[in-house]
């Protein structure tokens, strides 16, 4: 069997602060195959974005990779910084949440794409410009020739995100990492961007890692999903089975507290409390303090073990309905 496109092995990332070392990522392992779509979901501070930055080789001081390895097609990147820099922006591309801060406001968007193409693909000026117009067409920007000469502020939020996606695709990457690509956008525009990413994925056979706090956006785009909490993956598996029957109390709570258009309960089921601090985090299950079914046993760290439904969960009581009592209380 050939190596997966991307493999992350026991990755640990810390940020040194005056208050102590913030353990942002605490032993994350995952693999992404060619053409696969993986959602990395969780709430603020769970480590999902730091994991993505680590893959891009963008962890700068005060952050550092403490342990673990990141491999691309079987080759270690952490031991080959030069090779890593070559991959970045060409084979692995990234789209960020806020396109306005990722674009140069004083340079036409066309010139910004042309620059990328000339650097990575060694194209001449006119060839690069032709390719840029083609990319604009591909991401659904009308009148590409005219719009290439415009500045970023002349684009709406949704159109700017399309520009970012066009730039990310310029070098025909094998993996696209999208970090909250729709969070800053209106819902109707958000749906358009999800549709576009789906089309491009099917057309180009891209692998996508989608980082999002919005479980609905992940549902629209990903085949697999990994749920993160306090720096660790607590559950992962095919999205259909995981969302239909989450095994970990945190995944269950997260899905339950997501507002829907149809739920009949008068009240939402809330997860009490807040995530733990990551300076000196608990050594056992990090969710214990908020978990309705946790007990003494959970002071040890539960391993990420198979659930039987094709997924894996890090919980000694995986599969039990943790929120049954809370739900009953909400119904009355």
């Amino acid at each position: 069997m050939s190596a997966p496109l991307l493999a992350i092995d026991h990755l640990e990332v810390v940020f040194d602060t005056r208050g102590g070392a913030v353990e942002a990522v605490r032993g994350v392992s995952l693999a992404v195959a060619r053409g696969e779509t993986l959602g990395l979901v969780g709430e603020s501070g769970c480590g999902k974005s730091v994991t993505a930055q680590a893959v891009m080789g963008l962890i700068d001081p005060p952050g550092r990779i403490l342990a673990g390895d990141i491999r691309w097609e079987g080759r270690s990147l952490t031991r080959d910084p030069k090779g890593w820099a070559r991959l970045r922006g060409s084979e692995i591309a990234m789209v960020f949440q806020d396109p306005m801060t990722s674009l140069n406001p004083l340079m036409s968007v066309g010139d910004q794409i042309v620059e990328t193409l000339r650097y990575h693909k060694r194209l001449g000026r006119s060839a690069a410009r032709r390719r840029a117009a083609e990319l604009f067409g591909q991401v659904g920007i009308g009148a590409p020739e005219r719009r290439l000469d415009q500045l970023p502020h002349e684009f709406s939020g949704g159109m700017r995100q399309r520009v970012m996606i066009a730039m990310a695709l310029a070098c025909e990457p094998k993996l696209l990492i999208a970090d909250e690509p729709t969070t800053a956008l209106d819902v109707t525009v958000q749906a358009q961007i999800v549709d576009l990413l789906n089309e491009l994925q099917a057309e180009l056979g891209l692998a996508i890692i989608l980082i999002t706090h919005d479980l609905g956006v992940a549902a629209g785009l990903c085949r697999d999903v990994a749920v993160m909490y306090a720096g660790r993956i607590v559950e992962m598996g095919p999205i259909d089975t995981l969302f239909a029957a989450p095994a970990h109390p945190y995944s269950q709570g997260l899905l339950r507290s997501t507002p829907t258009l149809t739920a009949s309960e008068r009240r939402l089921v809330a997860i009490p409390g807040a995530p733990p601090r990551l300076i000196g985090p608990p050594t056992g299950c990090a969710f214990l303090a908020r978990c309705p079914i946790g007990d003494e046993a959970c002071r040890r760290l539960p391993p990420l073990a198979p659930t039987g439904a094709g997924g894996r969960a890090a919980c000694f009581k995986a599969g039990r309905d943790a929120w049954a009592d809370a739900r009953e209380a909400a119904a009355n």
Binding site: D186, V189, D195, G216, S257, T260, I271, P272, A274
Partner: protein, 330 residues
């Protein structure tokens, strides 16, 4: 001052318009004005929540600001418990502000990091001279913190010691200090994590039941306001396009824009999410300095006819208690 009559709603907004000037300033520069909102009419009864939903540029926050008299009214009236406050100034305006409070989106930006929680919550009590002594202020603050479910020792601590959800509780405690009949909540949970949103929404519902509060709850999508709203108004390009009871909006929307907003809400069912034929329109908001003569949604609307491009549809009843501004309602 007229005595407020008992059946008067907590808030009534009549034909509200807010105008902004854009373009260069200067002696010879051409000035343009545009109406960020226009013809907005609704009422909120005591103990009721109206969800005001729209995307960026719809004017939803402008409506909130105009009600709080923080944006100039170009036309229309705002009545608080039957009292016309559209032109209140000075002392009267200050007194009014005690009766309608604001809860903001970002609990990180809206609390002064250098003030203790006790000082933050006590500030409105002191500004409006509701307490006679420090001891009285302390007692009232303790009562408020208890009401919003914060720990007893919270009052001596500073905002940075609290999570986003707890900060929003502090903001709510501050808003409740003066016992206002109306709270305008501008995206009160958008900045919070999903698991914490439910805590804050449940708290707002509990407080409403306990205190008979009325809420104007401003939001950018339909999922968040569903649990908290009794009625919902949909705003597009500065105009109300539909207003109805909560279930009618979700189960039987009349306006194509409401349909599009519903279709765009991401749901956590992968099969539904993938298989859904998207009723999501292409295109963008019209330029409000030159609004189209007809329906403002017509350029994006799949059902638009010649009539829609020529004449603005009136907001009128399509079913009992269900108003929509559309020539071809669903």
């Amino acid at each position: 001052m007229p005595e407020p009559t008992p059946p008067a709603p907590t808030l009534a907004v009549e034909d509200l318009a807010v105008e902004y000037r854009v373009g260069q300033s200067g002696f010879l520069a051409s000035r343009q004005t545009f109406r960020a909102v226009e013809g907005v009419t609704f009422a909120i009864a005591r103990g009721e929540t109206l969800g005001l939903v729209g995307e960026s540029g719809s004017g939803k926050s402008t409506v909130g600001r105009a009600i709080l008299r923080r944006a100039p009214l170009a036309a229309g009236r705002v009545l608080l418990e039957g009292e016309d406050i559209s032109h209140a100034r000075g002392r009267q305006l200050q007194r009014l502000r005690a009766r309608m409070q604001l809860v903001l989106q970002d609990p990180y930006a809206s609390l002064n990091p250098r003030m203790s929680v006790a000082d933050i919550v006590a500030e409105p009590l002191i500004v409006h001279r509701r307490v006679a002594s420090k001891a009285q202020a302390r007692a009232r603050v303790a009562e408020l913190l208890h009401l919003v479910g914060l720990p007893e020792d919270a009052h001596t601590r500073y905002p940075h010691a609290f999570s986003g959800g707890q900060r929003q509780r502090i903001g709510i405690a501050r808003a409740l200090a003066l016992e206002p009949p109306l709270i305008v909540a501008d995206e009160p949970v958008s900045a919070l994590d999903v698991s914490v949103r439910a805590q804050v929404i449940n708290l707002m519902q509990d407080l409403q039941e306990k205190l008979g509060l009325s809420y104007l709850c401003i939001a950018h999508d339909l999922a968040i306001v569903r649990h908290i709203s009794h009625r919902i108004a949909i705003l597009y390009a500065g105009r109300v396009v539909e207003i109805a009871g909560r279930d009618a909006i979700y189960d039987a929307p009349k306006h194509p824009y409401t349909e599009a907003l519903l279709a765009a809400v991401p749901v956590t069912d992968p099969a539904v999410q993938r298989g859904r034929a998207r009723a999501v329109p292409r295109g963008e908001l019209p330029d409000l300095t030159r609004p189209p003569p007809g329906c403002r949604y017509a350029p994006r609307c799949p059902r638009a006819s010649d009539l829609c491009h020529a004449r603005q549809p009136p907001l009128e009843a399509k079913a009992p208690g269900h108003l929509a501004a559309c020539w071809h309602p669903g």
